[in-house]
Structures are given as C-alpha cells and as structure tokens.
Symmetry: D2
Subunit: 346 residues, 4 copies
C-alpha cells in the first residue's frame, strides 16, 4: 500500500485521479491540495464522490506532501511543476507531472511554445515520457514521469507501428483531432460556454498548437529521422473523448493485412491498446471513462495512402488513467491494476 | 462464486448488467442470450467490452441457463418473463426480472396497463418488489425479484420518508420526471432519433404512463392509504439519468430541519441513498454510471408545500445496478459488492 | 420606417434583436451599444451576422440614441434601465425594457427579489407589461413596455384561459420549467460551462426564483384573486427553449373538449399562440428560433387535475421576438411583421 | 410568381425546402408529395410549420405535378429521379434533383458507387451541377439541375480558388469532414439513434464514400488535371452543420496574404461565401440555418502546406438552400431571394 498526494485535486484531471485511485487496491489517497477550494472537502466540490471519497483539500504544502506520500501527482497548468519536482526528488518521492513542463526535451522548444524559460533544464533528460506502450522500461526506473498530452497520446499510439517499421513518409503526415470540452479544463471561458460549444464544431490552434512539438519529438524518436506534421485540433460538443484521424503516404506497397499484422504484433502485450476488427472504426463512446486506446486503419492501395483512426478518453488514457498506469509501472504493480474497466457504454 | 445468466444481454440493460457484473468479485458471467445477436460475441455488439468481457451470445435456451446458472437476470420487454420465471423456480434457480411482468401485484391492473392477460397471477404475491431500501428483508428471502421501473425508483425513494411519517397529503402529489434517452431502449424509432431528441425537451405519456400504477401501488403501501399522483415523464437530450421533481402539500407544520432529520434517519444505513447538503440539489451528472440515488428537498413553510428532487442513473440504480444490489441481498453478499463506484464526473 | 437603437447589443438577447430586426421591413437598426465590445463591429462579435448586418457597436450614449432613434431596446441586466427609460421619456422616444426593472408593479417586491431600491417607482404604473396576448391595448398606447421574463411568458400564456374562467384552484398551482442554457446569458460561469451542463439535468432556484413574483402578479390579475405557485426552473442541455409543465386542480367538473374550446376561443386572434391538436404535446424543437408559443393540456377527470404544457424559444417569444411584437403594436405595424417565421426544425 | 412542387416533402431536405420557400416572395408552394405521409398535412408531420404552411401531402402524381408546377424539387433517395426528370422535361417543367442521380457525369462511376445502372445516361450531360458559385451560367440555362451533395459543397468551395490557380498539388489532398446527424436522413436506424450519436465522434465510409467521386469530378474540372483525394466523413453530435478541414501541399511559395487575395477575388461577387477575417476560423454555429459557406485557411510556409476550413449548414447550403439558390438563377430571380438570412446564433 503506497500513499499518494494530488496537487491540484479539484481540476478535471485531479478529480479524475481521485476517482480512479479510489478503486486502486494498492494506493491510499493521503493528500489533496487545491488553491481554489482549500478547506473544502473534495466531495463538496465533486458531489459525485460523496460516499466514496470524503477528504479535505488543503493549501499546497510541499513539505507535508513529500513527508506523507510515496508518489505525487502534479495536476497543474504548465509552469508550476518545477518546484514540486525538485522538492520531491530531494525527498526521495516519485512524481508524475500531468502538466507540460517535462514533456519537451529541448528547453528552447519549451520556451518557444509555452512562453516561459524552463527553470530546471537539467532535469528534462531524467524525466521519462510517460507513454507506457513505448517507454515501459524507462518508466519503471523513473523518478520523474512527464505524463503525455492528450492529443499526443492518441496520435503517437496511432502511428507508432508505422513509424517504427518505416512504412510511411514522415514529411507529410496530417493529424486531424476532435476533442471533447473537458480537455479545455474547468475554468469557465467563452470557449467552454455551453452555448458556444453546443451544436457546434470548430477548429482551433490552426496556426500552431503546443502539442505539435511534443508529437513531433516522439514521432521522430520512433522514426529515427525528422518528422513534420500538420496537426489541427477541433472542439466537438462532447464531454470526454478524442478521436484522431491520421493521414499518411505509404513509403512502399503494403497490404491491409500486412499492416494489421504490424499493429497486432506491436501492441501484442499492451493491454490498453485495442486493434478493432477489420472495418470497425473507433468511436469515442467505446472508450468513455476507460483507459483504452482503440485503433483501426484503412490502406488505400490505389492512392498509396493510409488512414489511421484512434480514440481515447482524454481524461483517462489522455491524462489521469495513463498517470496511474505510469504509477503502476514505477512501483512494480500490475500495469492494469485499478484500470481494467470497460468503457461506460451506452 | 455464483454463476449468472443474462437473457436479453444485448439490450441496454443487459449490456449494463454485463458491465457491472464484470467487476463483481463473486459472480461469473456464465450465459448470455440475445435474439438479435445470437452467435455474435458480446464484445462485437458492444466493443466497449473488448478486452474485458468476450463471450458469445446464444439463442435463448431455458434448459441450459437453468442448469448452468445460480441466478438469471431477465432483461426483456414485458410479456416475456413468465416462462423464464416458472422454469427457474422449477429448477431452484433465482430470478431477477428487469421487465414489468411481476411489478404490479394486481393482475387486472397489469392487464389494463400492459394490454396482456397475466399468465402467472399466482406468482405475483411471491415476487419481492426489488427496492432494497424498502424491502431488504423480503428480497433476501425471495426466489423472484421484480426489479422496479426507473421512474418508480426515483420517485418512491424521494417520497418514502415523507409518506412513512404521514407528512404530506396523499391525494395531490405531482411527480415531474426528466429522463435520458437510453430509457427508451435500443430499438431505433422516431422517438429515439438523434435529430428528434437533440435540442429538444418534450413530455410524453401525459394522459397516462405504465409506471404510474406501479408508483401508486408502492406509495400506498408506504402511506397506508390510497394515493393518487399526477406523473409526467419527459425526454431530455442526455443518454443516462432521471431527475424527478416531486411536489406535495404538507399535512402539518414541519420545518426544513425536521424534514432533514427524517430523511437522514430513514436512509441512515442505506449506502446508495445520499441526502445532499442543505441547498445543494441533485444533478444527474453526479450519479452518472453509479448506483446512487441523490435526494434533496425544500420546505416552503409559507405555502405549506414541499419540493423533493431525486436523481438516479436510469440504467444503474434505475435498472441493472439495482438488479445486482438485489442479487447481493438474495445471495448474502455485501449489499455494495461490485457497486460502490462514484459517478463518472466530469 | 422607424429607427431602432439597441443598448446591450452583444448579449444574447441583444444579438437576437439584431437578427430579428434585420428581417423587419419597417425598421432600420440605427444604433448599437456594447460595453464589452465598444468599437467592434457586431459582425465580428457574432460572425453569423456577417454579410447581413455590419455595424459598429458604440459606448452607450443616451443623448445620441435618443436623438437618432424612435425606439430603444434596453437589453441589459436588471438595475440599469431607469436612466435609459427616463431619458427616453424626456426625449419622446419609446422604450422596451428586456430587463426586469419595470416588470413588478410593487417597488417593495422589486427590492425584495432584486436587492435594489427601485429608482423610479412612479414610472412602474405607466409601464405596460409586454405580453401582447393579454395586454394588447395597453401596449399600443404605452411609452414604456416591460418585456416579460422568459419563464413568466411560458407559464402565464399556459394558464391564462383557465384563470380567466376560474377553472382551476389558485392556491395549489405547480409550474415545472425546463430551460436551455442561453437563458443564463453570455457571461461564462461554472453554471454555463459546457462540461457542467452537458449530460446533465438540474433544478435551481428551488427555494425561490425572481420570476415567481412576476408570474404571481400576472396570474392574480387574470384570476382576480390571490395566487400562490410553486415554481421550479431546471437547466437542460439545449441552447434555446423553455418547456413548462404546469399542474393545477380543477375547481369544478370540466371535460377535455370544453377546455379545448376555452383555449381555442381565448387565443383565437393571437397569431403566435398555437393550440396543438389533441394528444400532440409541445416540443421545444417546434418553436426553435420562432416567436410561437405552443400549448396543449390534459384533463384528468378522475383525479380532477389538469396538466398544461407550453413551449417557447426563450430568446424569441421569451425575449427579443416578443420585444419586436411589442414594438409592432406600439408603432401600429402588423403584429406579425418580421416575426412570422416557422421554427427551425429539424 | 412561380409554382413549385416538392416530391418527397416530409424528409429533412423536403421539409427544409418548405421552410425556405415559405419565405420566398416569388414562389407559391403548389404541390407536396410524400409516400409515408400521404393524406396528412405537412404541418402535422412538422408542427413547426403550423400557422405558416398548412398543406396536405399527396401520393406522388407526376401528371399533376407537371401540370400544376413550373419547377419540381425531387427530394428523394438516389435511384428515384429519372422518371421524374423525364416527365418534367417532356412537360417543359424545370427540375432540381436533390438526390444523387444526376451528379456524376460518368454512368459507370454512378453504377460503381450507387450499385444501379443509370436509366438515362443521355441526360447526364445536360444536367447542370448546381453549385452556383462555379456554374452560374450553366444553371441559368439549365432544365435539369443536379443539386450537389453536402460534403462536396463544403469541400469544392473550400478548394476552388486554389485549384483554379494551380496553387496546390492535386495528388495529396486530404478532406476531413465532420457532419451533423440530419445528414443521415429521417429514417430511424442504429446510426442515428440518439444514444449511439450522443457523446460520440466516429468516422464512417473510411474505405470509400459515395461523395468522393463527385468531389473528384468537380475538383478535376477546376484543376484541369486528375485529382485523387482522401476523404473521411465523421459523425458528430449536432443536428445541422458540416465542418470540412482540408489539407494540401503547396505547389510553390505563396504567402498567407496572397492566398487571401486569391479567395477574396474569387468569391468577390458570391453573396453566400464569406471569407472570415484573418485568424477567425469557421464554426458550424455561425452558419446554422443559413445559406452561407464560411471559409478560412492557414498557410504553413515552413512545411509548405495549407489548411483550409469551410463550414456550411448541410440542410441549407448543403441541400435545400442551394436548391432554392439554383431555382433563383434558373428563373431569373435575384440569387439571394428568400435566402439572405443570418445564421441562428446563439
């Protein structure tokens, strides 16, 4: 039984961590902090938790959390994680950062996209990129895990087998992602106003989104050469879910069946990636509330192109579920502990 | 470890039973039948289950299910349960009927509202009405449980403490319920067409709905005298959830605080009923995917009226979750086994 | 051709006025003001208007609007209309207030519910209550029109024929209303966050809502005696629309057919009230984007109760459409000018 | 004043024609036919029309419709239009086909994608492709207009200026479209069930959709050489709207500003195409219920790629609005007559 602390427990990813960890047989939720709701019980902020988790949220106190916990989840906006990570390392506490501060390995890229000078560039290399299907070994040994962005998770998992085998051209990949509104966070804004989102589909970040350098960094590692993608995120009127439709040119002739073998073999021992049967394409409903990433694809031999479609729940496999999966690996638990739950469907 | 069979496994309540029982530590899903999808795997009908439950659906075979199972869940439209119940009783198998055939104690009322002559009126008295917060003792001993309707569950739980104590007048109760579309079942129809439901609120069954006699039957037992309600169900564009707003006249002066004590004491040992804090009214989101029934109320002393609001997930506490709660009681398991999960929120 | 000014043009009701007046053959939109978007074109705030209405929003300038306009629409939150109304009257300009400042005739009631001392109690009697189906004659002669609240419009129109004829008891009316989120206005808040509204139904204002005294004031005038209602507004995940389900006890025996005659005769010459055919109950979709109020009812002779259901678009008949209908009467135009448009359905 | 007949008046595009033509000053709706609702009034099928259009739907009678009408709108599934078109031509009546039967110029392509032998291949050349922004002159003279598909409209308008000027490579275009559910028609099915669509995003037709050959046919005419696109339609939980995100490689260096000039000049005299301001990307809400097509784009000079985004209402510019626009041209009316209405927003 390990003890976990969540910093930023009342944002959507923080609350989702609470919901998931509550069902985890090897973790005690020891510490919750919240700037906005310090002094309030988590179950008064999220009455859905009443009767299951009733625990007060505190002001952030790094000393206490490092003393009382074995693992810290930092569920904060970018720019707030460095002091937490430093203090955790000093105290021998493992830390999983759900924010963006340790995802990009290049501090200049970080500064370019996030508008902040990175305060601990020396720690960037140490942080494992927390995509267990790719970096399982690194994560097992890591003290710091940078939990991936939601869009990157869906796109990297969708493309990994193809890039690893050099099946597609790397300079002309297009990723068109459709996301639910919970990905925009809990703070009210015009962007998240019901009336603005409902009965609407819109693109955003068309001229550049912070997840693009993260996606390219990881795709390049898989491909072994430079990758340039066109990435367009869209907002659709659903609460949870990301569907990414990914388009690439084939670098050589390959059949639908061969690609299927490739995916099935690549993800053979990965319990949370499901390659759907021939002709059945992912739907966000099927992964709703679950840690699964569903994938399927279509090879257009005539046009020498491939279309890959992947679906995740942005708050689970795209954030808090993946964080718990990382924790499982870091502490030697079964990878699926607390997470092997089907999507809530219908 | 008991063995469960689900007849009608591919309807929404059937699939929800599969989802819930998968997490139940004391039940093995042994048998699934489906008329529409016989021969197909449940995970190809509901790909959300892939990787969790993979099991073929068969043609209904009462001999086999009775031989191989300890409990049968009948998740069929009304009019189909009598042969199942009879065969189960003969074989010493317990049965929980999620349909309407054993809810009304009076066979003439059944015939009036369902348009069918009841084929086993002698068994009606034996069937326990499966609302565990009221009939726990009966359910523990029952061979047949009639699982309540979704609207009745939300309304009876909302009113029980008031009627038991004689706080309200019984001839002028109004229940205004708002339901998600999954309550209408899986068969496509104009009523369930996305374009007809989306951006729409509508009432139906205004001149009479089959759940009214069921609600009145149960309210009368609680009140000890005759009850006549006005009940209007509404369809709202959500998948899951029922919010019932219930209006009644107070029969004597009683304060908000006294009513609170009444509810808290009535539901003191009922783990799935949550009386929300003062001024916090139920939202269907907070019970989404959970077996909770959230309740709160407002006493208008000036007008001598009370408004009670209750929320459930129609597929869980309003159907399959409650069925599993009943099974837990029937087999001496902990009442909450497999069910103590918070709402999926956000 | 008259000239209209809209103060508060970039809120939802302001923008809806622009949309409706654009199609009006006898009105020129002369002046738009907006605190938040002064200096910006209305079509950059609402790109839906591009190519139809392109006009700059200004800082509020009462002198100019009174000089340049024949009618002013004040589309502001309560507490801001008195100076506008006073200046308009001085300048001989007619004014239609879409806010709440002139709806309640009793300044103490206003202070009790809105928390502000009324600054022009002497003008309250002069203001016509802008419900044309009831106060046509008053509105035609009025210099000030208090445009009714959205909930009151749906409830008063639903009950008027019954109260006028003394058909129902006035002390036990229940009004259960379900509203789209646009009724909560454009300012982002937790209440209007997509993730909080989507897949959710909730009640609010259970212990008292500002529209209750307004509804009671008007129902009392119709009934000729005191009225006490229980009113519960609900938020449902749609953009536009209010469905009100209204419950009352019959004061004497009356048949479904007699009530139908009552409604049809009462609304005989009212082009925007549609009594739906027997058994067809209102849906908000059918009035979407239109100025219609659809009504139907069911007489439960056995229980001596009646259920009335009405539907409006809260931004049209519940706000801006009704304001234009009032303007039509005030200026002697055809009542339906610019408004006789069917609901946008599907 | 001309007389119009609508065959298939109770489907979604038929009803939308009725809604639009009702506001048209130069058209009388003379004839409505419906197989499913013959004998019923259109306002009982669509109560939204009550008080505006009340007219009985008849069994299809080609003799009568040709005798009584000047123009026929055929709003039927593919495979039903040839007899209507033939009879109309014989009678000197103009016909606008909202189905797919006259869109593809090559009868073999038609047979390949629609599984039917074309019954009037000799008429294919005569039919004008009813995209007025491209084929205005042809449409003005046409006796038969093939009204374009909804996806093709959004994609062709989005790409036309680029292809006409040879700005992009024609062999690697990707079109990712997101459509509302009304595009799937009124017949209930699993695909259009509320519970299947709500809280869901999914791709369909990934391996080939009937609109692809139509899009390619038209893009080729614009480009003057062969075009091969990858087209993936998606279903999103909205009623109306298509957002198409289109990706292409630039064939030579061109700046954002130069592309802007290209679009603005190409669509200079096209009242229904709106090029949005720099950095403002289309949203389906802004065209809701309107005949506009909104477009914007982003030139990624570094990657030598362009992303174009277009939005239409699939039932208006994607079907019935465009049909009326075609009718206006065919009869010498103003192109915008009856159609210059802003989107219903909020």
């Amino acid at each position: 039984m390990i003890r976990a602390g969540i910093i930023g427990a009342t944002g959507y990813t923080g609350a989702e961590l609470v919901r998931i960890l509550y069902r985890h047989s090897k973790v005690e939720i020891r510490y919750l902090s919240s700037r906005s709701f310090a002094g309030e019980d988590i179950s008064s902020v999220y009455p859905s938790l009443k009767g299951c988790v009733e625990k007060s949220c505190e002001e952030q106190n790094l000393g206490r959390v490092c003393e009382e916990c074995d693992v810290i989840f930092a569920a904060l906006p970018h720019g707030h994680s460095v002091p937490i990570v430093k203090r955790a390392l000093e105290s021998g506490v493992k830390v999983i950062d759900l924010g963006a501060d340790f995802r990009l390995k290049n501090p200049e890229e970080y500064e370019r996209w996030y508008g902040l000078k990175h305060e601990a560039p020396d720690l960037l290399d140490e942080a494992a990129y927390g995509l267990p299907e790719i970096y399982e070994r690194d994560i097992e040994k890591a003290r710091i895990v940078a939990n991936p962005g939601c869009y990157p998770t869906s796109i990297i998992l969708g493309l990994a087998p193809l890039l690893k085998k050099g099946v597609i051209k790397t300079e002309s990949i297009v990723a068109d992602s459709k996301s639910g509104v919970s990905g925009a966070g809990r703070t009210p804004s015009e962007k998240t106003h019901f009336v603005e989102c409902n009965e609407n589909v819109s693109a955003y970040g068309v001229s550049g989104h912070r997840h693009r350098p993260e996606i390219e960094q990881e795709l390049e590692k898989l491909a072994g050469n430079s990758v340039r993608i066109t990435f367009t995120p869209h907002l659709v009127p659903i609460t949870r879910g990301i569907l990414s439709t990914i388009y690439a040119e084939l670098d050589f002739d390959i059949t639908q069946g061969e690609v299927r073998e490739l995916y099935e073999s690549f993800y053979q021992h990965k319990p949370f990636v499901r390659i759907l049967p021939e002709g059945v394409f992912p739907r966000t409903r099927w992964v709703y509330g679950s840690n699964f990433c569903d994938i399927n694809f279509y090879v257009d031999s005539e046009a020498k192109r491939i279309t890959v479609i992947s679906a995740i729940d942005n708050l689970v496999k795209g954030a808090s579920g993946q964080a718990v999966q990382n924790m499982n690996l870091m502490f030697g638990f079964s990878e699926v502990e607390g997470l092997m739950v089907p999507g809530l469907c219908p």
